[in-house]
């Protein structure tokens, strides 16, 4: 049963003087889901990128079924029987679903120099049907489908040719619960067929549930390979971080009363096609969670509270009677928002960290003659970047250089600097490693204790349960239930209201 599929031998990769992967050796078996875990920068993706031909190998070997493989690009990797599903979008816009699935392998449909599109579409549709994705049409443009469905197309693309190894690189963070289940199903199928999956994920419960074997990397060094059945989540955290976890992960308190003071009142809010007739109140010092499937409309709630929804009906009213109907009004009245789409909607990518932090607080930066003062801006940016412990060289560094976790810290630093009283956090920990996650949870707890109110929208049920005073579950654009904080609350009670 446990025949070796892939041997990783003395693998090394350096970038400049950074040792991204240092002398790593381990084996991966046939017919298993082999998880690779470690904090950001531990070398997981570097390793798989070498396997799939995105990076070149400095030294060391990959031995696949006894034969050394050395792919120079992804098509070569495919031919060796290795494929990859990536974290963000891996399909190309402007092509049809079928063209995406057979990208790089169109030759098989070419006769006398002419591509037989009909045959290609038919074959693609057969594949889609076989996978159970009948609703996706192979001849439609891939742009016509949403993020989730495009991920499903990618699953087909990466697995239809029965590759020996499929790398799934943090794909699940971008997926909703139903999308994940779909992916899990296919992971199980691939394993049952005797092929191998290398599974990269930050979500430890998911890793434990889905994988057979787990290899832990830390700072580019191989730490250990363990059987999933032999370890707990805490064991894994210890192995990843290399020390005892200090402090609480989520909040530890239960049974605190929620203040009766209402800071924001949402009445009859409707955004056509997304959310319908939403009513709720946010209390002072409360963390109010929103959970649901990705398409349930919960992400739109955040935008609606921030005045950022297009075509919104109904009202969002603050305690002093202010109506929130535009982003500038929201910000002026101390509302902060972090988007799920961090790179496009939260951080200004091609701009310095400092400018990003100062942007909403420019009125505070005025010096002589009412002009902006460079020194005030610098001091302000440094103060809050430091408070959030953003890893950076200096505040002039561009945000586009930073990792996901650090970008999120920059956004949070911006709103803490603005001293916002109401924070609307949409997927605040999406794609972020454990340590930064913990920082963010602790920050939220601190802010709550300081009387700030937080709306937390998340697809991660555990963090909703761990952090929120109240959780509202969304389904089909409406609120489908309310759950109060309790140690007995579990994922199933949330899922029951979600689907």
């Amino acid at each position: 049963m446990s025949e070796v599929r892939l041997q990783v031998q003395n693998l090394c990769k350096t970038f400049g003087i950074t040792k991204a992967v240092q002398n790593v050796s381990f084996n991966i078996n046939k017919g298993e889901v082999h998880a690779l875990i470690g904090e950001n920068g531990s070398g997981k993706s570097t390793l798989t990128n070498m396997l799939t031909g995105i990076y070149t190998i400095d030294s060391g070997h990959f031995i696949l079924d006894g034969k050394e493989v050395h792919p120079k690009n992804q098509v070569e990797a495919n031919n060796e029987g290795i494929s990859i599903i990536v974290q963000e979008l891996g399909t190309l816009s402007g092509l049809t679903v079928a063209e995406n699935i057979f990208l790089g392998h169109e030759d098989r449909f070419v006769k006398f120099g002419i591509k037989n599109t009909g045959a290609m579409n038919r074959q693609a549709q057969d594949l889609l049907n076989k996978y159970g994705f009948n609703r996706i049409r192979s001849n439609a443009m891939v742009d016509d489908y949403n993020f989730e469905d495009r991920k499903l197309v990618e699953i087909v693309k990466a697995t239809y040719f029965q590759p020996k190894i499929v790398v799934i690189d943090e794909t699940t963070t971008a997926l909703s619960q139903e999308g994940r289940e779909e992916l899990y199903k296919h992971m199980n199928r691939i394993r049952a067929e005797g092929n191998t999956i290398i599974f990269i994920s930050h979500d430890l419960p998911e890793v434990l549930r889905m994988s057979d074997t787990i290899t832990i990397l830390r700072d580019g060094v191989y730490i250990d390979t363990v059987k999933s059945s032999d370890v707990t989540e805490d064991d894994l955290k210890k192995l990843m971080v290399g020390r005892e976890d200090t402090g609480d992960y989520y909040r530890a308190d239960y049974g605190e009363d929620i203040s009766s003071e209402v800071v924001m009142k949402v009445e009859n809010v409707t955004v056509p096609g997304l959310i319908h007739n939403i009513n709720f109140e946010l209390h002072k010092g409360e963390i109010l969670g929103f959970g649901g499937l990705s398409e349930s409309g919960m992400h739109e709630i955040g935008k609606a509270c921030f005045g950022a929804s297009f075509d919104r009906e109904g009202s969002v009213t603050l305690a002093d009677g202010t109506q929130i109907d535009s982003i500038p009004t929201a910000i002026a009245h101390s509302i902060a928002y972090t988007s799920k789409d961090r790179d496009n909607e939260s951080v200004v990518m091609n701009q310095g960290i400092g400018d990003n932090i100062c942007l909403p607080s420019l009125d505070k930066m005025k010096g002589a003659l009412g002009l902006l003062s460079d020194s005030k801006m610098k001091a302000f940016a440094n103060e809050y970047a430091k408070e959030m412990s953003v890893k950076m060289v200096n505040t002039n560094q561009f945000v586009s250089d930073l990792s996901g976790g650090n970008k999120q810290k920059v956004v949070l630093a911006r709103w803490i600097g603005k001293d916002s009283d109401i924070l609307v956090l949409d997927s605040p920990t999406r794609g972020i490693d454990i340590k930064v996650k913990q920082d963010i949870y602790q920050l939220m707890d601190k802010m709550r204790k300081n009387g700030k109110s937080i709306i937390m929208i998340s697809e991660e049920l555990m963090e909703l349960i761990g952090m929120c005073d109240r959780i509202l579950i969304m389904k089909d654009g409406e609120i489908n239930g309310e759950l109060l904080r309790s140690p007995e609350l579990d994922e199933n009670s949330l899922i029951a209201k979600m689907v």
């Binding site: 040792k19 240092q22 910000i331 909607e345 951080v347 200004v348 990518m349 091609n350 400018d355 909403p360």
Partner: protein
């Protein structure tokens, strides 16, 4: 331990990058000096002896480039500048027969109106800025041709009497100083850069992006409307080609001055001054060398292409809005 080495190498890499960007930002200035020396050698010092003549077309370029600099900072383009110049010049000429200060104001108003039209179609109708401004370029060029079909539109004789370098220099410096302060030390400038660096995120940081974009097009029109006054006191009357190709001159000047073509946080105001100087020295130099107009366009096109190809920051290059 590994984390530490990681941080160090990152720091080195960034240092290297920042050295490169310093070099890149000094290149236009270096280029200016080199070109200036080359032309002086080739013309045996005629250029430096005739500096006032060489620099005579620069005032209009400098003033108009200030507005376009704002537009390019937020990631847009404006091809209608030449037509704005033509229309505003005609307005200045006509109104100057009534009253000179009124003529200046009327020129600014005419420029602002065309700018507002650009802004309306760009912001409200969501058409890409280069398409909108190419349309208005042709539209108003047509109107200019119609208005000047019988004879050039001449201004009041008093206008030409005002033609002296001190006035033009003072006006130019005032515009540049105001432009620099607005760009560098106000919320407005900060907002422009943020829009250029990431419009959606800028919007979510509380910037009224639509309003700002509309205002900028109007402002750039108004600034060029003011430059029309400087243009008219120099040339006295407007022909059908009045202001022709000003937009390309400005665009080339700004890019030669190191302006990133997609705008954003890397825009520096010095691009306006250095770029305009570079462009003016280059074109005057070529004229002095006895090149014909056709050949000049060819050379300008080549220089522009080479500059963009060599210096475009491909990493941050996005679609022009």
């Amino acid at each position: 331990m590994a984390e530490k080495t990681n941080a160090i190498s990152r720091e080195e890499e960034l240092k290297k990058l920042s050295t490169m960007s310093t070099i890149r930002s000094l290149l236009p200035l270096g280029g200016l000096i080199v070109i200036f020396i080359i032309f002086n050698v080739l013309t045996e010092g005629r250029m430096i002896k005739n500096m006032p003549l060489v620099l005579s077309p620069i005032y209009v370029t400098l003033i108009s480039a200030t507005g376009v600099f704002f537009i390019m900072t937020m990631g847009g383009l404006d091809f209608s500048q030449g037509s704005i110049m033509g229309i505003a010049s005609i307005v200045v000429c006509v109104v100057s027969k009534v009253n000179i200060p009124l003529a200046i104001i009327a020129g600014i108003a005419a420029g602002a109106a065309i700018g507002a039209l650009n802004g309306f179609f760009y912001v409200n109708r969501k058409i890409k800025s280069f398409i909108v401004t190419i349309c208005t370029m042709f539209l108003f060029r047509g109107i200019i041709k119609y208005l000047t079909s019988n004879a050039p539109v001449a201004g009041s004789a008093k206008l030409v009497l005002m033609n002296n370098d001190t006035l033009k220099l003072v006006c130019t410096i005032v515009v540049l100083v105001l432009g620099f302060i607005a760009f560098r030390f106000t919320k407005f400038g900060m907002h422009l850069r943020a829009i250029g660096a990431g419009e959606k995120a800028a919007k979510f940081a509380g910037i009224r992006t639509d309003r700002t974009k509309f205002f900028i097009y109007m402002l750039a029109g108004a600034i060029t409307g003011f430059a029309a006054f400087i243009n008219v006191i120099k040339v006295g009357s407007v022909t059908s080609s009045g202001g022709n190709q000003l937009e390309t001159q400005i665009l080339i000047a700004l890019v030669l001055g190191g302006m990133p073509i997609s705008g954003g946080a890397k825009a520096r105001f010095q691009s306006v001054v250095i770029g305009s100087l570079l462009y003016t020295v280059l074109s005057s130099g070529l004229t002095m060398m006895g090149l014909e107009t056709q050949a000049m366009q060819l050379i300008q096109g080549l220089v522009f292409l080479v500059f963009v190809a060599v210096f475009a920051d491909r990493q941050s290059l996005q679609v022009i809005k």
